[in-house]
Subunit: 332 residues, 2 copies
């Protein structure tokens, strides 16, 4: 059973999950099959038996579950960081705090096409992924053991992806993570001072200033943050004040998929299809942050390494200003 | 001039330092010389002119500055993240906060031997490095523009080192970084509750429990933290309560260099000389945390990648428990 442990000084939670050690490529584990070949790929059509049974699928031809004929499949992670079975138990060791690793860890297999990527200009795959993520978040929200659900995408080996077939992940957690809580606390402090959502303020300021604005459509805006930790880091905000990703309408998600596809097309050309992490920053499950939190997407290409200085300080060195990165992306 | 920018939501500071773009290997910059060869290495004896003039050196034969004959040299970083010249100016853009990038960024070239590493069992090189770091911190502490000095070592390309010749870095900052402040706040909360240093409590508990204790000598203790973010993450604590690295006696640093050398020897054998980050967590310059902060070293081998989930949540998944990692290291 995985275990959640809390750092007694900083309050950071860590998942100790020995299950993950069995994962291909991790640590010193070697697999005897080449997973980059469709025949061996657990995410390819025909290989449905290589994954746990699906929790959701888009099947336009109404084919039976766990057989080919799908456009998108959601399955539990075969090497889950957390386990869905059991009830939440908190305990301790000496003056340390821990709890059992209750949670869900699912994989959204975004397309049957083994070689497809989000750089390929097909907004349909992105739209399907967003719709499936919304459906899964709505379903998992019903489970009162979960306090936070994170949807994220790792693309490429240097971004942490162990399989090349296009996929997104979802983790439901029994606690609200520290970094999310920091964002919420910062947004609340601004609201208490100004009675306005800080994200709405940023959207308005950036639209007017037009120094870091990359793209805009009916419902969404893409910009480089004022203080980006990484070169070419981008943020995508819904224009309408909305704390939670899952209350985004299907029409808005359509609009999001096209602006994401365009943005990734520019990134692909300028930075030669880099590995990247894409994270949906969402409100906690019990939505008590409605007035001041505003869901958004964080996009970070992997261009440089995080080194000792950044780990120790949480202080990032970025050699490219957001103004310059947006200018280069616009010029593509 | 580099610029410090503050994220308006989380309060994280970022250094935007276009200077760093010129650094070898960074982004798309290509260098025409192979820096892994001693003739081209700016840290090798005879190539002193390839670095800015030294700020400190150990020269047993009293040879002149910036010539061969040194055992260790400290020089300003040729591609500094921050600039030492000028006075600190805080300003803004709209509702954003920034300041000019005042600070120091130095490199400790630990040995004239191009191939040497801390895995090679020579405690003398580690001792020289610690003594030089202490001398530089004491000197930079006199500059009232600096609020925090961080000493850290990146070993190997995946840990962020751009040069292979053994070196340590030092950055003096005009603000206390957020992660350091979090550690200080956590330690203060414990002190207010218990009137005890939380680090002293951890040292006592771990010594008695002996579940995560790797090594111990007269002045230092090495253990795996209860909630490690990374596999084989280790922490080194001075046994004596002491907030600041620079008030460690030379005798204690001698003791530290031997326990570090032994520990790295075990890591080298078990994990095949991995790349790593080593960070000195020190009290801020104006030492107002004396009762509850306790300086220490964080050691993190680079074995897996940090992926989307960790970035978004600050929630880490570690597939190896600290109890298991200590057991494996002890068995070497």
């Amino acid at each position: 059973m995985p275990e959640l442990r809390k750092d007694p000084i900083t309050g950071t939670w860590v998942i100790i999950s020995e299950e993950r050690k069995k994962r291909p490529k991790y640590y010193q584990i070697v697999v005897d099959k080449d997973l980059s070949i469709p025949e061996n790929c657990p995410f390819c059509p025909g290989n449905e038996a290589m994954t746990p049974p699906e929790t959701f699928a888009l099947r336009p031809g109404h084919s039976p579950a766990n057989t080919p004929g799908w456009e998108l499949r959601v399955v539990p992670n075969k090497f889950p960081a957390l386990r869905v079975e059991g009830s939440l138990r908190k305990s301790g060791e000496g003056f340390y705090d821990k709890m059992n690793g209750i949670g869900a860890h699912e994989v959204l297999i975004e397309t049957p096409r083994h070689q497809h990527t989000w750089f390929d200009g097909d907004a349909q795959v992105i739209r399907n992924t967003l719709l499936a993520a919304k459906a899964r978040v709505l379903d998992l929200n019903k489970d009162t053991r979960f306090k936070y659900i994170m949807v994220f995408k790792n693309f490429g080996p240097t971004a942490g992806a162990t399989l090349s077939h296009s996929h997104t992940q979802l983790i439901a957690l029994p606690v609200v993570p520290l970094r999310v809580q920091e964002e919420i606390d910062g947004a609340r402090a601004h609201f208490e001072l100004k009675e306005r959502c800080i994200f709405c303020d940023i959207i308005q300021y950036e639209s007017e200033a037009d120094r870091r604005l990359l793209a805009e459509n009916e419902h969404f805006i893409v910009l480089a943050p004022y203080a980006p930790r990484f070169s070419f880091e981008l943020a995508v905000y819904p224009k309408r004040h909305n704390p939670s990703f899952e209350s985004t309408s299907d029409g808005e998600l359509e609009s999001l998929s096209s602006i994401l596809s365009e943005t990734l097309g520019k990134v692909a050309k300028l930075l030669n299809r880099p590995d990247y992490n894409l994270i949906i920053h969402n409100a906690p499950c019990s939505n008590s942050v409605g007035e001041y939190y505003h869901w958004h997407i964080e996009f970070m290409p992997v261009l440089a390494r995080v080194a000792g200085f950044e780990w120790g300080t949480g202080f990032y060195i970025n050699p490219i200003s957001p103004e310059e990165s947006v200018q280069s992306l616009k010029a593509v």
